[in-house]
Symmetry: C2
Subunit: 282 residues, 2 copies
């Protein structure tokens, strides 16, 4: 494949890279500040590295990924006010004079995993990330998930037994949706210390596996995926994988086959590599 | 469009039809008994009506709709034992010497609604039916939903407040999944009388709208549909539509736009018309 540019536009950091795949990746990362300052640093990186024909962007959101829409390429209703209604794809296209592909961060990561990672040649799989939020993307029957806009899988409601877990949830929109119960800020708010400070034997992890399994079981019933790639900072706690697998199987109870539940093959590089894959697919 | 055959293969009745669309539909229906007897009646209907090139089947399930699979066209793990592992598409193909298209009853209904009903030209929408079970199909970005097998949307877990609703749910696999809380048999088991006997002002309907709204809000976050077509016997209680719409909007709370929630444009004929559309699309 040809070299292309990739931008993983995250809410807390940007990763920019040029390359043709995992073996020749030249990348930098820097914190996300204002749109103007952040885009300046993006432009500087690509100008220094020389010409590419196309740049792919996997962005935090919500975004408008519909090429037919007047606001294609915009970050739309994000709670990060400075970025709301910012034309990210347009800024990159105009200043670098390149073709720009634009999708969600999680769809980009899914595409990276399809091309080089844990989803090689799989037509139907999901990519879920559990970190400061819970997000999901993926492919259904060989195509990235879109719909009217794009999935917001982290915000589904799941059963929440308040006797077992009195924490009310901390999603500003939905309270105890999956993200409001299972993202890193929810773990910290519930237990009074950051997730990474909790020991492996803390009951937090069994509860975390329970909520993630409820989400994954539901998504499996809805999408019928062959595999679920489960990543993000929280999943560095590797004991979660066998716990989630066992609970998903128990929840599905033989009604459908459980999907394989695996870590990302590309680790933390899935997003930026997927952004490059988005550009290569143009 | 040319004339084709359509079979809506339901767990309690079969509908067979020949036609090119809603305006020239010639159909019969009869109860579902054994596979042998039921297929005999199907064959008899089509032989009497004369030659068609192709027959589409929208079937109860679970089924195998993957044309690449060795068990394509089979009803697979259904609780109806006589039908388990029955090669329905093969039986029709061999005895009628026709091409056969095969999909779920709900995907067929979705395709019918796309062609002639409440989803004209919509690339992304869902078709949900609430009756003796809860099932869902639809299209995402212009293609019928499949995945590894097909969606089983009725079996997702939703929040269940046992203080408000002590009924444990009656899904034999999952207890209080959406189907176990909101299908007609659940309503009857909870309130001690058949759903159709409950007056409009009975609290059953507010609770029903609540559960359907939880399911639809989650599916909206996951698929980002433009419209949700909501049909089935329970939805003949028309007061449910405004109640479900209001609750879906409240649950989404402005985070994403709520989809339109509408009745099927084809009413009870969506399934068999969709089966004809499946055949026409071959």
């Amino acid at each position: 494949m040809s070299k292309a540019g990739g931008i993983e536009a995250g809410g807390s950091k940007f990763v920019c890279a040029i390359g043709s795949g995992p073996d020749d990746l030249d990348s930098v990362e820097f914190p996300t500040t204002t749109p103007e300052e952040t885009v300046d640093r993006v432009i500087e990186f690509f100008r220094q590295r020389g010409r590419v024909e196309a740049v792919g962007i996997g962005s935090f959101g919500p975004i408008d990924p519909d090429p037919q829409s007047a606001t294609f390429g915009y970050i739309t209703s994000t709670p990060k006010l400075a970025w709301r209604n910012f034309d990210l794809a347009g800024a990159i296209r105009e200043r670098l004079h390149v073709k720009v592909a634009f999708d969600t961060d999680v769809n980009a990561a899914a595409l990276g995993e399809l091309r080089w990672g844990a989803a090689l040649r799989l037509p139907t799989f999901l990519y879920l990330t559990v970190g400061t939020g819970v997000g999901g993307g993926g492919m259904l029957d060989g195509r990235l998930l879109h719909g009217r806009r794009h999935p917001e899988m982290g915000h589904v409601r799941i059963p929440h037994d308040r006797d077992r877990d009195p924490f009310a949830g901390n999603c500003p929109y939905h309270g105890d949706c999956l993200e409001g119960l299972a993202a890193a800020p929810a773990i910290e708010a519930r237990w009074g210390q950051p997730a990474q400070a909790l020991p492996d034997e803390h009951p937090a992890w069994e509860l975390e596996a329970h909520y993630l399994a409820l989400g994954i079981a539901n998504l499996s019933l809805v999408f019928s995926p062959q595999r679920v790639i489960l990543g993000g900072g929280i999943m560095r706690r590797e004991q979660l994988y066998p716990a989630v697998r066992a609970k998903v199987s128990a929840l599905l109870n033989g009604y459908i086959d459980a999907p394989e539940i695996v870590p990302p093959g590309l680790g933390a590089r899935a997003g930026v590599l997927g952004a490059i894959a988005l550009a290569q697919a143009m």
